[in-house]
Each structure stands twice: as structure tokens, then as C-alpha cells.
Amino acid sequence: MSKTLKIVLAANLIVLAVLAFVHPHLMVGPGKLIPGHSKLEKDCFACHAPFVGTTTERCTTCHKPGEIGRLTTLGQPIQKPLTSTPFHQRLLKQDCLACHSDHAGVKRFRIKGRFNHVLLQADARKECQSCHKSPKDSLHQQITGNCSQCHTQEQWVPATFDHAKYFVLDRDHNVKCVTCHLRNDYSLYTCYGCHEHSSESIRREHIEEGIRDFKNCVECHRSADEHDIRMPGRRRDGGKGHDGKRNDD
């Protein structure tokens, strides 16, 4: 390698090294910082300890755990808090990096909107509605609390609501909710939302069987199985039934 080439190479590399110190956010920073920390973009060691990385202790120097969600780092009340109830005070331990990453390039590796509820104290885990708003649909508007009856803390859907308790959704009834629950009103249902059932044919079949009260289909039909028909309040031999095979509850 010629001497000139060596000098050119060395000069270029020295320039790059100088740039890394003068503009570290451009040269080595893994993406933009969050807007709240943008003033720190040239001061890497405000958050990073050399060879150790970012520690919770560094974060809590400015962000006092007792004030998070209530006051800004300057001690001013937060005008528009991100959550309706401050919850950082109810974490099992302060481990900021378990949820937060400030550089855009690092945030990419985090799954968005995924908060591990295990980080919360046990009693706080039961108070879903202090952080989450109940959906506006008519089903959820009727329910208060007890979210864990249907939903897990890992994800909202699939919910463990057991539809089979009311009606078995078999392959012939694998349809969108709105087919039976018009306008997503889960307090009501109709069996006439598909081409298979028409009010006229249902009326005719039931009248033939001597059944006159057939408005509430699921009272007797809990599935599409024609042998699984329950007729509460009626005796097994009470008049003609569907194929004579009734299961009275």
C-alpha cells in the first residue's frame, strides 16, 4: 500500500471518528429519539452509562416513579395524561426498559400495544377499567367489571366467552356476529338473518308440530342438531314434538 493511500485512508477515518463525537445521534444513534427526549440527542451519556447501557436509576433521576402520569419532570401537572389513571406507582418493580425504548430503531423490535400485566401488583391487575375503557357496543355497555370472565390479560381477542352455552356455532353457523346480532346488538338475536331460515317456513313447521310459541328459538334449539331440542316447561309426551325426540331441561 502506497504512503499516499495510507494518508488518505487515515485522514478519512479520522474525519469519520470526529463526526461520531460531534454528531453521535447521526453517526451511531439507532434512530431518532422520542420527542420528549429530543433535546438530549447529542448527549448520549445523559441516559447511557459507558459499557452498561441505560439503567432504571438514570431514568428515575428525572422521572420520579411517584410522579409519573401525574406531574411532568419539571413538576407541572400533566394536562393530557396518556392513561386515565397513573399506574407506574403500582408496578411490582421499576424496570423502565421492560416497556420503554427511546430510539426509533430500538422501538421497532418491541411489539406495539403489548403491555405485560404481570408487571402490575396483583390487586391492580383486577382493576381493568381504571386503565381500559369499556367498548361502546351494547353487549359491553351492559357489563361492569369481571372482564377476566371472557378476556385474558395477554390479548383482548379471542375472548373466552362460551357462545355454546347459548347456541353452538357449528360449521353451518360459522358467520359474522352481525348476521344474527343485528347492528352488533348482542342483547338481541335473529335466526332469520340468513337464507336458510325464513319466518314463514319456521312458522309452518312449528304449527305442524303443534308448537305455537316459537319466537325465542334458542329456548329450545341450542344447536343445529335436530335431535338436540330442549323444551323447558313442557313434558316429554306433551303433544307432538320434533321427531318425538325432546330433551326437556
Binding site: M1, L13, L16, V28, H48, G53, T55, R108
Partner: protein, 196 residues
């Protein structure tokens, strides 16, 4: 109309070179797609480590060639150098992904790419050089050398061939730039990253 010499140059040298470069690009795109599809993006983040180790390991060939290391078949070391740097580069490219965050690691990636292409040009030139020194084989046979000794001697003739010497004058500075930039990136990671 192509002459037999041109056809052989294309078939024996330019085509394998083009295939190797294309394969590296295609493998990177497919690998990156699979990592995203299988929700294994975090794996790509750490592929830089084995990739770098493979590239460093493959430098053993340079040490053997310069006789810093005395043992081992130099042709095998060369094969390991070629495979190690190709595979290591693939891992580093997957590690880089298509994420434009900082300038220094991207300069290192570009330098690595130039280095890989330069290496493949060297591989092509070495093949050409081997063809030129084939006439030496008879000379060594007449001197009564064994088959293994002849292979070694022909190999050394080809790596010291004029074209190779000229190529090395380009390849080594490219490698030094890549090494320094990569080192800068690695030092910055150790300096700022929380290893836990």
C-alpha cells in the same frame, strides 16, 4: 460472435462471479422476508455477532498465506475464507436489514459489500491466474515433485501472479476501511448497549 476464449472467460469466471453476488442478494432478501414473516426480527438483530466472528475467523487464510500460521493446506484455508466471508456477509446483511438508523454502521455495511465484491473479483482473477500457470505443472513434474507438492507449488504461483498482486493492492485497503468502520460500530455498541 464469441471466441472460445471469451466463452470460457464468461462460463468459468464471470458467470460464477455474477451468480455468487446475485445469490448473496437473493438470500438476504429471502432471509429478511422470512425473519419478518416468522416474527423473528430479533434474531436478525443478533446475527451481526456470528457474522462478524465468521468473517474474523476466515481471516486465518490471510495469516496462513503470509506464513504467520505454518500448518494446514492453504487451498483449504482459501475455501474456508471464501465460504466464511460469504456466509458472514449474509448474516451481517440480514443484521443490517433495510433499517436506516445511523450513518456509521451503514458505511461499514457498504464497505463490507465492496469488500465482498472485491473478494469475488479476486476469486475470479485467481482462477484466471491458475490457468496461466498451468504450464508450470509440467515443469514441476519434470523436477520429480509429488502430486501434492505440485498442487501446492501451482497454487503459490497463481496467488503471486502479477494480476493477483495488483488486485491485492486494492483489496487490502478496502478491507482496512471495512475493518475500521465495523470496529467503530462494534465499539459504539459496547459503549452504549445494555447487555442484559
Amino acid at each position: 460472435m464469441t471466441t472460445p476464449g471469451t466463452a470460457s472467460l464468461w462460463r468459468n469466471h464471470i458467470l460464477p462471479f455474477t451468480l455468487l453476488v446475485t445469490l448473496l442478494g437473493v438470500a438476504t432478501v429471502i432471509g429478511d422476508y422470512l425473519l419478518h414473516r416468522l416474527d423473528l426480527v430479533w434474531v436478525g438483530r443478533y446475527l451481526g455477532i456470528p457474522g462478524t466472528l465468521l468473517i474474523i475467523g476466515s481471516l486465518t487464510y490471510s495469516l496462513r498465506k503470509r506464513k504467520v500460521i505454518a500448518s494446514g493446506n492453504v487451498k483449504s484455508w482459501l475455501s474456508m475464507h471464501e465460504i466464511g466471508t460469504w456466509l458472514g456477509s449474509l448474516m451481517v446483511l440480514l443484521h443490517a436489514g433495510v433499517h436506516f438508523n445511523a450513518i456509521l454502521p451503514w458505511l461499514a455495511t457498504i464497505a463490507m459489500g465492496v469488500n465482498v465484491i472485491s473478494g469475488m473479483v479476486g476469486k475470479m482473477l485467481l482462477g484466471r491466474s491458475r490457468e496461466h500457470v498451468q504450464t508450470q505443472r509440467e515443469h514441476y513434474q519434470l523436477r520429480g515433485l509429488s502430486k501434492v507438492e505440485i498442487e501446492q507449488a501451482v497454487f503459490w504461483e497463481s496467488v503471486t501472479f502479477d494480476a493477483m498482486t495488483k488486485w491485492r493492492k486494492v483489496h487490502i485497503p478496502i478491507f482496512i476501511v471495512f475493518a475500521v468502520l465495523a470496529l467503530g460500530h462494534i465499539v459504539s455498541i459496547f459503549l452504549f448497549w445494555g447487555w442484559r
